[in-house]
Every structure is written in C-alpha cells, then in structure tokens.
Amino acid sequence: MSIELDIRLVPPREKHPTIFKTFDDLRAGEAFTLVNDHDPFPLRHQFEATRRGQFEWTYLQSGPAVWRVLIEKRHV
C-alpha cells in the first residue's frame, strides 16, 4: 500500500498534525510518501523525539523544488 500525502496543499497549522495522524494510522510495515516544497528535516527531529525507533525515513527526491520522503512504520 502506498499513500501519497502532498503537504503543500495543507494549511500551515494542519501540516504536522496531519502528518503524525497519517503515520499513527499506518499498520506496521506500511508507508506513506510525504511530498513537500522544502526539506522536512525539522519534522524528522520531531519523529526522532516522539516516535524513536518506530519509523524509517527515506528521501526519494531532494529538491530543489519538491521533496519526497518515504516514511515507513517499522515492525516493532
């Protein structure tokens, strides 16, 4: 299963809650692709702090205009 979440279309205040809800709703082994107009690395730090060891973060595309990150929920 592959979900694509284009966060560019989401209003600023909803961006991070939407991303975390999408992740939390995944089952282990599932993934979604985050699409953004800038490198979402601050979000990765937030994932590290709040969901440590639960996710895989893989850049599929790194700019300059579009970033795609595959975020996968690990089997714990």
């Binding site: 600023p12 979000l43 937030q46 300059p64």
Partner: protein, 309 residues
C-alpha cells in the same frame, strides 16, 4: 547586517514626515531608512533636515546624476555628513568620468555606489572598472528583483564581492508572500554570509504595491524581517512568511541571538517542531523553550520564547 526601508515604500516622504516615518521603521525593528532624493535641485537642504530630525539614514539614492558641478559636490557632502553612501544607476555614469567622480567623493569624504541589476556581464564589467580605480569612495549597489533566479544571484554576489556597498531588495515586507519563494529570511542569510557590511534596503517592487506597504507600515504586525543591533530580544512573526521559508527565517534570528537574549516567536501553528529541531541540533542545555497557545480574533496563535543561555 543593517536592515533599512526605502522612503519609496510610502511613495516618498514629505519633509515634515521624516521623523514619524523613522518612528514607524523603529517600531518594525528596522535599523534605518534609505532616503530617496528628489529628481531636481540641490539635495543639501533635505539632507540637513533629515539630519536635524534624527533620521537614521542608512543610504541615499538618486535616480539622476547631477550634471552641474556644485550639485554633484553637494551630493558628495550629503553622503559625508550623513555617513551614508549615495547610489546612482550605473547606466547614467560614463566610465570615462568614473575616476573624476571617485576623486570628488573621496575629497568630500562621501561614498558613491553604482547601482546595477542582476545581469552578470554588466556586473563583471562594472566591478572591473571600479576595481581598476581602486578608490575606497567607490562601490556597487545591487538592485535585486524578486523573480531573479538563485544561480544568477550567487554569481552576482561572487562578482560584486567586496565592492558591494548596498543591496536593494525590491520586495520583502508585505510583498514577500508572492516572490517565487524568495522570502527575506533566506536572502538575508545569504547576504550576511557574503557581505557583512552592506545594508539591505527593502523597497517596493512597483508603484502598484504602495498601498500594501502603507497598510503594512500602519499595522502593528511584524512580517518577521525586522531585527535590531545587539538585541536582548528579537521578535519574529512568521505568520506572513511562506511556510517553506519560515525555518530559515527563524533560524537566522536564532543565530543572531546573543547569549542570554530571547527570541519571541509568533506562529499560527504549534511550534514544537522548532523545539525538537533545536534539541537535536544545538548543544544540550544551550537554550530554554516555552510556548503557549491563545486565540486572538478567532484565530489560534502560538507564542514561543526561546532563550539562549
């Protein structure tokens, strides 16, 4: 880096409004103003009144080159008296007269900047001509338009390099939402790493933008581009900044903080991502972070305080 606002942002300032205009700029956290000179006459009296009004003039700008020797000398004297460089479009300046111009400004202890755009061949030619004369009274001013592309901007920065005495950023302020993603935060960072002394002047990109600038100046809300020297406190409101440029805007403000100083952020969403990023990238115990949400005019507003210890 010094950040200033051009008087062009209000379509020119009547002389009796110079003081109030500077007050508004202070309220925005700006370090000073660029005074745009009239198209005609001797600039001396206006500059004297600006000085008397305590206007923090960072730069002078003339859109013409006085042909009369006395008016030209007066321009150089104004520059010296206000300790502010005067910029003139480079296309008005005959290269053969450059050495004489430089000598005049040097004699009066003023500084002349030749204003250019982002056409690399022009900048290279100009930088070479100015370097050949080798006068400390001569430099370059860059008129940077928001639609210009990244690689061209970098090339121009490299070509102008140490000669760069001013960057006029057409746009910024209330215009920054519509600028092909080039918001002020990122640009300030690039420029501050390239040239520590050249002030950045915010200027409307067209006459049509003047109403937006006027309402921006009249509103109390910051657009997150103001800062002051040696601030114990920096206030940044990123609600008007494009989402993708917010991080750089915030980080450049955080880097500018001295020890013990506080960054006060206003955001329209939960700023905890900022906390996690600092926690991951800054030394342990180097900052304190506090944030709280409130509702203002029916909208959720978050205020965060980051203190650098």
């Amino acid at each position: 880096m010094t950040l200033a606002l051009s008087t062009a942002a209000v379509g020119g300032v009547p002389e009796d409004a110079l003081g109030p205009f500077d007050e508004v700029c202070r309220g925005r956290g700006l370090d000073g103003v660029e005074l745009v000179l009239d198209d005609v006459g001797d600039p001396g009296p206006l500059c004297e009144r600006a000085r008397a009004a305590g206007l923090r003039v960072v730069a002078l700008r003339s859109e013409r080159l006085p042909t009369h020797g006395d008016a030209l000398r007066s321009l150089a004297i104004c520059s010296a008296r206000l300790s502010a460089p005067v910029s003139i479009p480079e296309r008005l300046v005959d290269r053969a007269s450059l050495a004489a111009l430089a000598a005049l400004f040097e004699k009066e202890r003023g500084r002349l900047l030749l204003a250019h755009g982002t056409a690399l061949d022009v900048v290279v030619e100009l930088a070479s001509a100015v370097s050949d004369i080798g006068s400390p009274s001569l430099g370059l001013a860059w008129d940077l338009r928001p639609s210009e592309r990244m690689f061209e901007r970098v090339a121009v920065l490299l070509a102008a390099h140490a000669l760069l005495g001013l960057v006029r950023f057409h746009g910024g302020g209330p215009e920054q939402n519509g600028q092909d993603g080039l918001a002020i935060g990122q640009l300030v960072m690039e420029l501050s790493s390239a040239s520590k002394t050249a002030p950045l002047v915010l200027c409307p990109s067209s006459e049509a933008e003047l109403p937006r600038w006027r309402s921006w100046l009249a509103s109390r809300r910051s657009a997150g581009c103001g800062h002051a020297h040696d601030a114990r406190e920096i206030r940044v409101d990123v609600r008007d900044v494009e989402p993708k440029d917010r991080l750089e805007t915030i980080l450049s403000a955080y880097r500018a903080l001295g020890r013990g100083a506080t960054l006060r952020l206003t955001v329209d969403h939960d700023p905890s991502c900022m906390f996690y990023m600092l926690e991951a990238t800054e030394p342990a115990g180097s900052f304190a972070f506090h944030s709280e949400a409130s509702v203002e005019d029916g909208l959720e507003v978050w205020r965060a305080e980051v203190q650098k210890s």
